[in-house]
């Protein structure tokens, strides 16, 4: 399926170059927003070797999310972060901006 072929080709070329030449800095600042309220934002400065799970839990606490089960999205996609370092996630998803939401639990 072709969405916007000319633009897409150009972007793919740029992305290829990006992947070859860009190295992650040692220290990164990550932006976390509550998915249901963008005004609630926290930034967390961390190292790329830090565990992403630790950073996400900290961000959720700061954003006032009480639920034990939290999810992360970035770039419009669900992000799987358990067991990964911050560097792993940044390389895989190519973003420093994330939305946090909690599961709805009803009985």
């Amino acid at each position: 399926m072709v969405l916007d072929l000319a633009k897409e080709k150009k972007t793919l070329t740029v992305e290829k170059i990006d992947k070859e030449t860009i190295e992650l800095p040692d220290i990164v600042t990550l932006y976390f927003q509550r998915a249901d309220n963008l005004k609630k934002t926290v930034t967390i400065k961390t190292t790329t070797s830090d565990l992403m799970e630790r950073v996400v839990v900290l961000a959720a606490e700061k954003l006032g999310i009480k639920s034990g089960r939290i999810g992360l999205t970035g770039g419009g996609m669900p992000i799987s972060f358990v067991g990964k370092t911050v560097g792993d996630v940044l390389r895989e998803y190519n973003t420093v901006s994330f939305h946090i939401s909690s599961a709805d639990m009803l009985g």
């Binding site: 897409e8 999205t73 770039g75 419009g76 996609m77 939305h99 909690s102 599961a103 009803l106 009985g107």
Partner: protein, 263 residues
Amino acid sequence: MQNQFIFPKFFWHKLSEILAQDTDERAFYLIGSEWGNKVLIYDLVEFNYEHRSPTYVESSVHQKSLLINALPIGVKIIGVLHSHPFTSSKPRYSQIDLRDFEEYDSGLFIVVSKTLEYTALYRDGENVDDAVLEIRDLEPDEDPVIFTMKKRWKIVIPKGMTKWEIERYVPIYFSEKVSREILLGKVSICDNALDFQFPLYLDIIKSWAPYKIPYRIYFRHNVNFKSQAKKLIKELFNYHNCDLRFIPSKREIHIMNCSGWYI
């Protein structure tokens, strides 16, 4: 001010069919608009369940975030409806239900029995009141109309919204959507200048829905759009084995049929 909660008959009938088939709880996000003192429901999106039993349901952790991102301008998650299939009389909230509602700043929380007896609460900040649903067809001025702005953004508003209301409220709704899309966009460096591209997207439309709300999914540039769209549709709507009609010229995907009982 007394709010009116309008629940279209179409969805209520669909719910009665679906809930009659099931002994496990089911839950749905209520999608709609607030217009003056009216809370208008335009669609229901079922949970993509992480767990489901006769006494408990839990959504996937990603669904709400993806759903909020997918909603067109002017439409939001109005609240949550879930069933208590173990009762046929007027249902009561459980402690788990009340704890879940606390996570919302505002919302309409409905619990229904197997026979569609219901209890509803509306929370607006610290204020919590009982809500009485008006289960009926929408009036012509309450029907949603869809406008396209700048060939990219879809705006859904009640038909009866006045020019004054459109001019004042749409910029507020618009700014939130655009800021979400900017975060999904891509900055590139070209000839010593910075360029910005909004993310690629497709709008998902349920072909059978009475109100054709366009739900937007976004793509990274280096993915297979069809397979990614299928994954995101599953994550967003919990639909299985759907027939999808791709219309690239309109940037739309129409969901034609799915298996199982669904809204």
